[in-house]
């Protein structure tokens, strides 16, 4: 076995190096994203935010980390101990495992040149693998909620279940159009298909797909406006009511890892990845170009992260029936219509930029929904009844 380990070593060490990078960077990112989030939240609400520890409060994240590690481990009496302990770590493991097929820097599709910014390059089904692993992240929440043996936790877990099952469908469907045009499930190849001018970025001719993908991916991260599994006013703390200290932090590290994953995927699939006008592609490129590509990708990712953080303070939380209605009656039909458009364009061999016309789809959908709502109001229904005629089941 040792000899076979040695035999694999030349293939193994770049992968181990990439794993080390991910393991080192992700918790750090998680810590500092909480800091950035608190700062942004403070500015949105006209406060100052954390500013005591270190310059501009920069060490607040470190202080929080130390405090949380030193907290007493509280284990409630009524929990199912084994699963109670497994749940948070499983949550984090799945969140980190999804990063295995994610290029976090420029990767050439010939896999020859440069440092491999990726744990497992050249996996044929990259994006599918990513979806498969992130579909497992529901287990952490469900098992945690169930093992807490507490009504609020179980309700949080059940909500999370329903949310995951619903939003996985538009998530998968929205990617299909991109995959069909790139002709590959491999993330590196999808990025490579967006090289060239800025108009080749998928966001310009797959705007509906980007909208649907971003919305459903945001729903899978359990963040506001989709944070029904942990909404404080209704469920105390939701699935993590019984968790404290480091176990609680593992759940939240997983959530922030999800945000990183979602931002990376949005940047890679729709915003051209490491491509930027004037910057040559990664194959056979010099180290400077590779580093520039890395910088471009990270800049795009930070942009998406910022949008996600700002959204939290811009949008109110959905009601549960609205949440389900959005997935089943809004996003899935939109994604299907987009897919039909892509299929027509591909089959007839039309130029792919015609697909920009799909941008009217969400506007039409919003107009249709609003007119239906207004019609029900005009019939003399109250606001609540109007919601009911839309299929939104009320609290009865």
């Amino acid at each position: 076995m040792i000899s076979s380990l040695l035999e694999y070593w030349p293939v193994l060490w770049p992968a181990l190096a990439a794993i080390a990078v991910i393991l080192a960077v992700v918790p750090f990112l998680g810590l500092y994203m909480t800091f950035i989030e608190r700062k942004v939240a403070a500015y949105v609400q006209d406060r100052v935010g954390p500013n005591r520890v270190g310059p501009f409060g920069l060490f607040q994240a470190v202080a929080d980390g130390i405090k949380i590690f030193l907290k007493e481990q509280l284990i409630p009496d009524h929990v199912y101990t084994a699963l109670y302990f497994i749940a948070p770590s499983f949550s984090l493991i799945t969140a980190m495992f999804a990063l295995v097929v994610m290029p976090f820097g420029p990767v050439a599709t010939d896999y020859q040149s440069g440092f491999r910014f990726m744990v497992a390059p050249g996996i044929d089904i990259g994006i599918l693998m990513m979806l498969a692993i992130s579909s497992l992240s529901a287990y952490g929440i469900i098992v945690g909620g169930w093992a807490s043996n507490n009504k609020y936790s179980i309700y949080g877990a059940i909500r999370s279940c329903a949310q995951f099952i619903s939003y996985e469908i538009p998530l998968g469907m929205s990617i299909l159009g991109v995959v069909a045009i790139a002709g590959s499930l491999n993330i590196e190849r999808i990025v490579a298909s967006q090289s060239g001018s800025i108009l080749d970025w998928n966001m310009f001719w797959q705007p509906v797909a980007m909208l649907v993908f971003f919305t459903s991916a945001l729903a899978e991260t359990n963040r506001l406006p989709f944070d029904l599994p942990e909404c404080e006013q209704e469920l105390v703390g939701g699935f993590h009511t019984e968790y404290s200290g480091i176990k609680f932090v593992l759940f939240f590290l997983a959530e922030y890892t999800h945000i990183v994953t979602v931002s990376f995927l949005t940047a890679l699939l729709f915003m051209g990845g490491w491509h930027f006008p004037g910057l040559p592609g990664p194959s056979g490129a010099s180290t400077t170009v590779l580093l520039l590509g890395l910088f471009v990708l990270l800049a795009k990712v930070s942009l998406v992260v910022m949008v996600i953080i700002l959204l939290r303070w811009a949008l109110p939380r959905f009601r549960f029936d609205q949440l389900m209605g959005l997935a089943w009656k809004g996003l899935i039909p939109l994604a299907l219509a987009n897919l039909v458009g892509v299929a027509i364009v591909l089959t007839l061999g039309l130029p792919k930029h015609l697909l920009i016309a799909t941008a009217v789809l969400p506007i039409l959908a919003a107009y249709y929904s609003a007119s239906k709502f207004n019609a029900s109001l005009a019939e003399g229904n109250t606001l609540r009844n109007g919601l009911r005629t839309q299929g939104a089941v009320s609290y009865e």
């Binding site: 076979s4 380990l5 693998m129 498969a132 059940i158 099952i165 996985e168």
Partner: protein
């Protein structure tokens, strides 16, 4: 490491380990597993710690035996770990007293089976299984189980009619499968017809007739990818040529199921009064 050049007449029949044991070893292994499953099933009935411990011990012995029968290489060891975990998950699935534990056991079995598939380079099947079973089906199971959970298990939740017969039938089935797998026979591994796209391969065509042409090492990577069996594009091509009828039938069944679900889910019209 390089999979090329492929000679389609000499494709490996089983890409896993050559099982180094003989038939009696397989028999012993299967009987050990069957006994372990029986003891654990009985544990569900009489709740004896002794029984559970001896069942787990028997399972551990069977696992060790399986380990000794494979070559000590990294790939084989990892694959064997996945396999043992899959069997353990399966046994946990049928013996757990708590429904949620059973569902988690099933999840373990499915995920470990996906691990084995990954080791066999069947990436697409592995990812699809993960999404469909572990990601959707078992989560819906858990969803229902949590809604329907009771404070105490009922008698019919733990009552088994006859664990002896169940364990015996399972053991003999397992032995039959292990026996047939250990002597693979003339199973054609790849059935791919590139010459007749979008058509069904003629039923009853001779083995090897529907084989792809030999790949040329001078081809580009994309072209080569279509020749390598197990790659996603090859799978897609095979699905929509060789197995077109089966795919269409499955699609129809799913459509019927969807329509049925919509019909069932509709609320009856409310009485206006």
């Amino acid at each position: 490491m390089n999979p090329l050049p492929i000679d389609p007449k000499n494709l490996p029949l089983v890409s896993g380990d050559e099982f180094q044991g003989n038939l009696s070893q397989i028999l012993l292994l299967v009987i050990l597993l069957g006994t372990a499953a029986y003891l654990l099933l009985q544990h569900g009935l009489v709740k004896s710690k002794m029984m559970a411990a001896s069942g787990a011990a028997l399972f551990a012995v069977a696992g060790l035996m399986a380990f000794t029968s494979i070559p000590m290489e990294l790939e084989s060891v990892v694959r064997m770990c996945f396999s043992i975990l899959a069997v353990a998950g399966g046994i946990a699935f049928i013996t757990a007293r708590e429904p949620v534990h059973a569902a988690l056991g099933f999840a373990t079995a499915v995920l470990s089976a996906c691990g084995v598939l990954f080791m066999q380079s069947a990436y697409f099947i592995a990812a699809a299984t993960m999404i469909v079973y572990a990601g959707a089906t078992i989560i819906i199971f858990l969803f229902v189980l949590m809604f329907a959970q009771k404070a105490k298990l009922q008698q019919y939740d733990v009552q088994l009619t006859s664990p002896v017969i169940a364990a015996a039938v399972a053991t003999s089935l397992l032995f039959a499968i292990a026996w047939s797998v250990s002597e693979p026979g003339e199973i054609l591994p790849v059935k791919l017809d590139l010459t007749r796209p979008y058509s069904l391969a003629a039923p009853g065509s001779a083995p090897g007739e529907a084989m792809p042409p030999v790949p040329d090492p001078a081809m580009s990577t994309e072209q080569l990818a279509e020749f390598t069996p197990g790659k996603t594009s090859g799978l897609g091509r095979s699905m929509f040529t060789d197995y077109l009828l089966a795919i269409e039938l499955a699609g129809t069944v799913l459509l019927v199921a969807t329509i049925g679900a919509i019909v069932l889910a509709q609320k009856p019209e409310r009485d206006p009064s």
